[in-house]
Symmetry: C2
DNA sequence: TTTTGTTAGTGAAACGATTTACTAAATCGT
DNA sequence: ACGATTTAGTAAATCGTTTCACTAACAAAA
């Protein structure tokens, strides 16, 4: 007769305590085994541990192991095709795979992630989902991540300061391996790798993916200048938008370089955070109300350009005959608006894609900070019908 | 002098093995304590167990407990404000909270979720992110989920059969508590609660959130009929779109009811899965190529309506003077297109919001299937400039 | 004096995987 | 015939929490 180890511990500990009462705090060695347990268990057969399959619940590795009469260890080795599984005969492997299929075994990702300290999950911060911009970038992010079998949690901060502080924290609590911020200020310490799409601050631990704004401004201002425009109005982005300042400055530089510095009186800034053309419409209305003269408008984005066109037309001004309008982004609707928008194309999908690839790279390389802080993408200009030669 | 328990175990086990070699399998009792360890430790002060904070790593409950000289149990009770924490004096509680703040303790969500069997995470299936439709629905979903402190994993299936089968599986492996499918066929067994936005199949375990399509068709066809239109062309949705069939059928019913059944020769179907107006443009081109006569077009959505308008204008047909165009959805651009689109407004944000709320409800109520299989939302018609009285 | 209750905690067992370090039995090499 | 190696596995520790079931020490009640 063999003795169950637990029983032995129990007996030994009892003896110990009897002979050396001062070692009482070793009690925990036997406390978990009650006397009746120790007595009733003859140690021969492993008892039926209510293996009757939890109701609708999913089957765990232990369940499957019990079902197959093997240990969880063996199953794990085989199912993950571990190098140590070489010694397991093909027949047993087949039995395991068949059993897994039969019981519809699905490994629990939480448990696995906890053990291997890897979640294959990243967090994505966006201002809002339905603004077109974020959705396009996200599309690119998703495309790169899914290739690497990563998933992502999305969180919208709506430009609220409390959320800008809280969301990164809870994403990190949820063990995301990295964060992609889209057009979002970094209000947290980057404890994990962060890639910022359209970020312009140099922050330790943050890689910026940006458009080459200088080039974009050259293309835009150059195009209008070449068409003869000298009095160019500008629709500046909302204060919360990451690109607002750099776009404004590069436009100014490009115009100044050509000897036609932008007139502050011809500048209006977008107000409000609606993703509708309405904000561009209002901005243009207020510019027109000032009664200033201009022959072209460089809008912050296509959405606001569309709103601006509406405002111009309501004033009886024809686009492009009386006023040329230049957009930015090249959203899907740009080509089909009437007039079709001339615009600076910003490859948002590629920027999201690049951001995700950079992040994965940093995760894979253990984040040796040899990588550059900023990577940039080139814009192109798409000439359509909303701009034309100045007619004066 | 007190003796460190580990040392004691070590010594006792050695003695045991010496005196009772047949108990060798109890070796594990001392194996983890090396001789030098046991020797060098005089047992007086709890040694600094390399608590020097793992490099950049995060601090666990155990770390914090060690730091405070308390047990993880106590910390857990206090930090989670468990009812059992009443017996812990306020001073100790303060010490714990201060320590947590000081060491920047963040509970590990994986571990917690594993233990309490609750992830506060759901999965969202969409065809593609940048199609406008999905983004709007997602916005509503997010808004409802964030109120309940839920997060979500997004996955795009791109209408691919393999992904339609695989994505739900991996989402479930990742322990999402439920799934929201947006304009997506259910190709999996709903083992967890599922809500389908724009789903029309009655499936056990699936709640459908739909637009009242009959009403939408009445509004649309009724509007055109009242303007005198009798020959109405229709742009039917892509085959993969959940709403395609029901929209087509309800339109037909509404037209037939008014004695002007839709002429099959005046129907074109969208081809291709680009989210650009281009598909509507091509569809209208091919309809125009047939040389048939019609005075109005009822488009599947605003995007295709915009494309169709471009095609009509290229043929020299004015909208709405020669042809009225009716859209569907009321996307942001609809109001600012020229001509501004008359359209059937589909409250996508609300539909996403409702879907999320229904799902949370089912999760909270243990999913007693007393809830209705389908909930519907009412459309409205927004009359703008793209439709007008027939001019013949 | 025993019983009962309160206070201030603690130990160990979950949760469901992976991984390290073993073992018994069979086979091989000499 | 003996040790070494291979084969076919297994036990237990681990990841970081929560929670159940305890306890020691002291006070109040019976």
């Amino acid at each position: 007769m063999t003795i169950c180890p637990n029983t032995e511990i129990f007996i030994i500990a009892r003896l110990l305590k009897f002979n050396f009462p001062e070692l009482g705090h070793l009690e925990f060695l036997y406390r978990s085994v009650t006397i009746s347990d120790a007595m009733s268990n003859n140690g021969d057969a492993p008892r039926d541990k209510k293996v009757t399959a939890k109701p609708g619940d999913s089957v765990s590795l232990k369940d499957l192991a019990l079902h197959l009469g093997l240990s969880p260890t063996t199953l794990s080795l085989v199912l993950n095709d571990s190098p140590q599984a070489v010694s397991i005969p093909a027949e047993t492997k087949k039995r395991i795979f068949d059993g897994a299929r039969e019981l519809n075994y699905r490994p629990n990702y939480l448990a696995r992630s906890l053990r291997v300290q890897k979640t294959n999950t990243i967090g994505v911060l966006v201002p809002e989902l339905s603004d077109g911009y974020s959705a396009m970038v996200l599309n690119g992010v998703e495309s790169a991540l899914s290739k690497a079998e990563y998933f992502y949690l999305t969180a919208s901060h709506l430009h609220r300061e409390d959320l800008l502080e809280k969301l990164p924290r809870v994403l990190i609590e949820r063990q995301v391996e990295g964060i992609i911020a889209v057009d979002t200020p970094i209000r947290f310490k980057p404890l994990i790798p962060v890639v910022n799409v359209s970020g312009h601050d140099e922050i330790d631990g943050v890689t910026n993916v940006v458009l080459n704004h200088q080039h974009a401004a050259e293309l835009g201002i150059g195009h209008l200048y070449n068409l003869g425009h000298r009095r160019i109005a500008a629709i500046k982005g909302q204060a919360f938008s990451s690109d607002t300042i750099v776009r404004w400055e590069t436009m100014n530089d490009a115009a100044t370089k050509r000897g036609i510095p932008l007139d502050p009186a011809l500048m209006v800034q977008l107000q409000g955070d609606s993703p509708s053309p309405e904000v561009g419409y209002s901005a243009m209305k207020s510019l027109l109300a000032k009664g200033v003269h201009f022959t072209a408008v460089f809008a912050f984005n296509d959405i606001s350009a569309i709103g601006a066109i509406r405002a111009l037309e309501e004033m009886g001004l024809r686009v492009p005959a009386d006023v040329s309008v230049l957009g930015f982004d090249d959203i899907y609707a740009a080509a089909f608006h009437s007039p079709a928008l001339t615009t600076i194309r910003q490859p948002l999908f590629e920027m999201g894609n690049l951001a995700a690839r950079k992040l994965l790279e940093r995760l894979a390389n253990g984040d040796e900070s040899g990588s550059p802080k900023t990577v940039s993408i080139e814009p192109t200009i798409v000439v359509r019908q909303s701009t034309s030669r100045v007619s004066e």
